[in-house]
Subunit: 380 residues, 2 copies
């Protein structure tokens, strides 16, 4: 018990340290798409990607429980990164629980979530989930006798930071993405074209051949599936953007395409195993119903039309980690990687291994206890 109390104190100090620099707002650094940066297969090696989904940093910030979960999540990521030694990391949304972050600067928690990857000098890309720019939800108990806990804004009102820091508006997708991009040369995240707004994390990255940095081995597409401050959808304009971009850079569908977004599309419901996961599906947990996007506005038709599409990867459902075939490609869940967010299923991450010549896409789940499972070949 004494040990635990000691830990709590440490966490309280940590929380305090994290909350102190409230004055500094998210720096809005506008960075052009990653010209000059390149993702390239290393000679004689595969290209390995680790996907972390649903980390939910910043949950319950005003208790000791929340910050403790973030420490656990950091440990999970650190362990998995040391185990798998990936070439690239994808943060597949719900990096934050922004609805629990009672300060404008959610980027502090974003930085925490990215630190295991950054510390190991591994490049990354991020796509948003529905909790990343969610509105702050006020706990009703703060309005009864207990009042607002010590991290409250009223203490800020009298500070030199000015009363207008006292707005619980959170940090927008645009601010968060600018922060991510500007935070390190390791960030391969991008802001999408302006006409896709309010949807922000829409972009494509090329993985180049070990022989020739101009020659693409695969294209990774990131799409923002919305939620939080706006509806949980991939819009018609996004579907059109995917289509025109893919037509432009890969007109003959020669290069394999791999797709990443946060909230499963409605197509996931049509392939979901009922109960036990049997072949052709591959996975270890199927503990809840697919919670899909609110509507389907054409992205699935656009994917179906391209023989180069290999698989779609989503998070969102913490209790699902399967892959199932859908028409000519695969629909996969990741795995709950964080201690934040609902569910106590053992944490893990999905790994993708791309082989260059001949092209293959292999995947498995890597667990916080070091075990591996659910190996599957996803290439068509």
């Amino acid at each position: 018990m004494e040990g635990q109390n000691g830990k709590h104190k440490k966490f309280s100090v940590l929380v305090l340290v994290l909350l102190l620099p409230l004055i500094s707002f998210v720096s809005v650094v506008v960075v052009k798409p990653s010209t000059g940066k390149n993702l390239q297969v290393r000679k004689g090696s595969t290209f390995k990607i680790t996907i972390f989904a649903d980390l939910h940093f910043g949950e319950d910030t005003w208790t000791s429980w929340g910050p403790l979960q973030d420490i656990h999540s950091t440990k999970v990521m650190s362990f998995i990164l040391d185990q798998e030694k990936p070439d690239f990391v994808i943060y597949l949304g719900d990096v934050l629980t922004a609805d629990n972050i009672p300060i404008a600067n959610a980027s502090l928690y974003w930085d925490q979530a990215l630190s295991p990857t950054k510390d190991r000098c591994i490049p990354w890309a991020a796509v948003f989930g529905n909790h990343d720019d969610a509105h702050f939800i006020w706990p009703t108990e703060w309005f009864s006798d207990s009042g607002i806990p010590p991290l409250k804004c009223s203490s800020l009102i009298s500070s030199s930071s000015g009363e207008d820091n006292c707005i619980f508006m959170g940090t927008t997708r645009l601010q968060l993405m600018n922060h991510d991009i500007g935070s390190s040369a390791l960030s391969f995240s991008q802001k999408g074209p302006n006409n896709l707004w309010p949807s922000v994390s829409n972009y494509v990255l090329k993985i180049s051949s070990s022989d020739d940095s101009e020659s693409p081995v695969a294209y990774l597409y990131f799409l923002d599936s919305g939620g939080g401050t706006y509806p949980e959808v991939i819009s018609t304009v996004q579907a059109k953007w995917f289509n025109s971009t893919a037509q432009e850079i890969n007109p003959d569908s020669r290069v394999p395409e791999i797709i990443f977004w946060h909230i499963p599309s409605r197509a996931y419901k049509t392939v979901a195993p009922s109960g036990v996961i049997n072949k052709p599906c591959v996975g270890s947990i199927n503990k809840e119903s697919v919670a899909p996007q609110e509507a389907e506005h054409g992205i699935m038709k656009a994917l179906e039309a391209r023989p180069s599409v290999q698989a779609v990867f989503v998070g969102h459902n913490h209790g699902l980690d399967w892959c199932c075939p859908y028409k000519k490609f695969w629909l996969c869940f990741t795995r709950h990687s964080g201690y934040g967010g609902y569910g106590n299923w053992t944490r893990g991450a999905r790994v993708l291994e791309i082989n260059e010549q001949p092209f293959s896409l292999k995947s498995w789940i890597t667990m916080e206890d070091g075990s591996l499972h659910s190996h599957v070949f996803l290439s068509s």
Copy 2:
């Protein structure tokens, strides 16, 4: 039909004009409580207050319907102000439908709502409703084929105003109140003490005797009943603030106290007429159930303890305009004053008439068609 089209065009131009100055954010002018300003009964006259509730300016801003309703609401207020010629106007919350205002600067619509009063040089005070700083709710249809309508933010991204104006965060209570206070010397609105935050519109105004500007005839208390970006409650701290303020400035309960907030407290449910409004209640419409605050954290007990409290006035329920006695004072609804917001009941406003010597508080409803009804004496 031609006439209507012409009107629509005029409204479109108006909308455009209103949306153009998006670059200018709400000016944050910090103004001290209204020292030097005074509300005083005119010699040989009563002191007349008109209450406008639930105007809902800025509703459906992207259609022609919404701006048209605002024009109707402006007409209602202008007519009533010319008819009643009040000494003071109270804006009793839901001045805006902020959840329909897709720009940061909700203060543009706030100014529109205040203009009939301002134009007539009548002083006013405002208290917030649950829609005044609500989060913007994205219409789902904007994500399908139709896309975001022409007032969309994407056009702003490329403007000189910078991409960060492209946040649909709305305007906070604090920003709105600073704007109101700074907009005119006629504003008697105040920001409440910082420790009541996020609740902002909490303050007390004194009406002075015609003989002696130091001698109070009545105290008007304004309380923020929350909602929108945080729960719909009057908190424990607010109740304590009311209690200590009233004890301090009116220790012997000699001066009558009149209370204003937006969302009915749960006590309203206990006195609500079922069906027809019979005595001792007085009113003309009882068309819906009382939609009360989420919890009761002590404000009613604080009011009950003071024999000086005469009545509480709320809005929120557009289909209710009754007053009913509750313990030693009255609980009153106003009347839907605006064309924005639900319900098509004929618009009106509640009038209060304070007589100085002997003190009396009379009230009635004044309608957009010029009729008056539901006269009632509210003084104890």
